[in-house]
């Protein structure tokens, strides 16, 4: 992947000591990051007898069997689709709602603003375990009262996860929006846009990198959550985070299949992530408003 080129930080070439420190540090860090990834890849290609035996760096024999078996041991495809729907919808909704809320806080003075932001911030401290059961009860009761199937459905999970990422998203976006010069929205207002027009046409485009960062965060929050998913999903709505546990069965831990399935489901996410990451970095420079 070609790296985006921008001028080095200092016009002078960095001193030798810095170059060495960079080489050593980044090599060590790469090793730290890569070893588990290597283990995942190599184990996913080993027969079960190999992975459940003594670890060896080089596989004695390669097999793609795990990649075939993963689909029948657990309904991986279904879990994957569920996770995509849940995490995707939660991300879109979370970002949308956060954009509006952050815009209000960034651009308006109103009573209760401080209360709002402090409350939103404080929800980051809630231990999940404290509201797991109450939330479950609430969903069931709302369901009983209105017929909305919140519990056990993807909808309930989406609602939960989008709210999980909402506080931090709002908080981050306020910062991004604050840094978009107000002159720009003023100009748009003069041009006859309403406040929402100014938001959508001026502020949002200028804050795209921030929005991408927030979206990535919201997606990952929903993608990996285990506790709520284990209680709030059933057979048809189970997500990957809990579904992957199906490879450790009463019989055996299918290490090679766990690794294979983890890789299969991670590849699209990592790829998407990397695409966005490039975009995010270019956005950070190109989208700069001077």
């Amino acid at each position: 992947m070609p790296s985006t080129s921008y001028a080095p930080r200092s016009p002078m070439a960095p001193p030798r000591s810095f170059l060495w420190s960079r080489r050593i540090f980044l090599t060590l860090l790469t090793g730290f990051v890569l070893v588990p990834v290597y283990v995942m890849v190599s184990s996913s290609l080993k027969p079960l007898a190999d992975v459940s035996g003594k670890f060896r760096w080089l596989p004695s024999g390669l097999t793609i069997r795990p990649y075939i078996d993963i689909w029948s041991t657990v309904p991986l495809a279904k879990y994957f689709v569920n996770s995509l729907i849940v995490a995707g919808s939660a991300t879109v909704c979370s970002v949308g709602i956060a954009v509006f809320a952050a815009y209000a806080v960034s651009r308006y003075d109103f009573r209760g603003k401080r209360v709002f932001t402090v409350t939103v911030l404080s929800t980051q401290m809630f231990p999940g375990i404290l509201f797991l059961l109450p939330l479950f009860l609430l969903y069931v009761n709302i369901g009983n009262a209105t017929g909305l199937a919140l519990f056990g459905s993807r909808g309930g999970l989406i609602l939960t996860y989008l709210t999980f990422s909402l506080p931090f998203s709002i908080w981050m976006l306020i910062g991004y929006f604050d840094s978009v010069p107000r002159d720009l929205d003023e100009a748009a207002l003069v041009d006859g846009c309403g406040p929402l027009g100014a938001l959508i046409r001026i502020v949002v485009p200028a804050a795209i990198p921030g929005i991408v960062a927030v979206a990535v965060y919201a997606f990952m929050t929903a993608w990996g959550e285990v506790l709520f998913a284990s209680v709030m999903t059933n057979d048809t709505t189970r997500t990957l985070a809990v579904g992957l546990q199906g490879y450790s069965t009463l019989n055996d831990v299918y290490w090679n299949q766990i690794m294979a399935a983890s890789l299969v489901v991670s590849v699209p996410v990592v790829a998407g992530f990397l695409l966005l990451q490039r975009y995010l970095v270019t956005g950070l420079t190109a989208g700069a408003v001077k």
Partner: protein, 438 residues
Amino acid sequence: MRSIRAAATGAVTLSFALAAAACGGGSSTGGGSNDSPKTLTYWASNQGAGLEVDKQVLQPELDKFERQTGIKVNLEVVPWSDLLNRILTATTSGQGPDVLNIGNTWSASLQATGALLPWDARNFGAIGGKDRFVGSALGSTGAQGEDPAAVPLYSMAYALYYNKKMFADAGIARPPATWDELIADGRKISAKGKQALGAEGSNLAENIHHVFVFGKQHGADFFTAEGRPDFTSDGVVAAVKQYVDLMAKDKVIPPGNAEYAQNQSVSDFAKGRTAMLLWQSASANLKSQGMSEDQYGIAPVPVQSGTPGTGTNVDSMVAGINLAVFKNTHNLDGATQFVKFMTSDAEQKILNTAYSSIPPVKSAQSDAAFNTTANAVLKDTLARSAAALPQVADESQFETTVGTAVKELFADAAAGRPVTTESVKAKLLKAQQQMPAK
């Protein structure tokens, strides 16, 4: 200004309304109804090699049930890691399945919640009477003196599985019948450079099953007759120590097993890494891992005297799965019909064969499928020398606290720290103090 106050008032009112709604959690306390007579939801536990295997076993039977009764059963196989949580949340909210599998040791704990339909004489009558079931299995369906909270579905018992070839290589002629023999045999096997006995040191339930049986063999119980925890009596301490000493002192359990919690010991046995395994109804597991039946032998779990029986000669817990009806069911008649179907002779034979368990139904037990050598041992154990885990409401807490204590003791043993009567007693005292106050 006013609008803010109005908004604030509105928000507060809304939250109280929602809170009040939630406070009524599970207030649909009715004893079940017949609102939806054409469908049932069934939560099955994971008995086979994987969730999909269970579906393949159960679905044809559920289709059969649908053909017979016109009731469609929606099956969900719930992994063990989630089952108890799912049952708890279902209990709290009243939103659950109609019929469900429970681990039979949970019976009394779940009975105490009042979420399960009690099996009184009338309900038992609807499925052919209580007498159809084996006594030992009925002993693990709820607190004594109360109507059972569930009906036995599959029965299992512990046995000693041993690798014939490894025994022959070590010059051992017959499987050990006493613990001394087991230790002596274990030394012979270790001398050949092999691992002797497998265990699951970090699996709380396994730990409990074993120390419970050791407790029986020392004449000690973990609960008094009134149902109070009594974890620090000399008998219990000796029992727990004897189990952990299999690793700490006798060195027949390899230290690495202290961290096992996901049935790695079964897989070690199947792959010929360990010579012996104490496990419940392992045949189907071993087969699916490629170990054929002629490679291993099955013998009763050792007892101090050498002859399994009752009292201090108990050599297994009554393991198994019970079938329960959720009290909030919307199809009470259908649920009862389904229990009747699942406990019928024909289904019992099919299902217990598939899962290599023993039918808790007397008339199904006589089938030839359950008279093989392997099953004969298990059947005998269940009939003669198995005891049910304490049927007390705190059973679930007991599994957690004492199971954790044993796990920690195994960790000590594995790290080479001494395991003494005092250290065992201290751990058990801590476990007892963490039990709910009465």
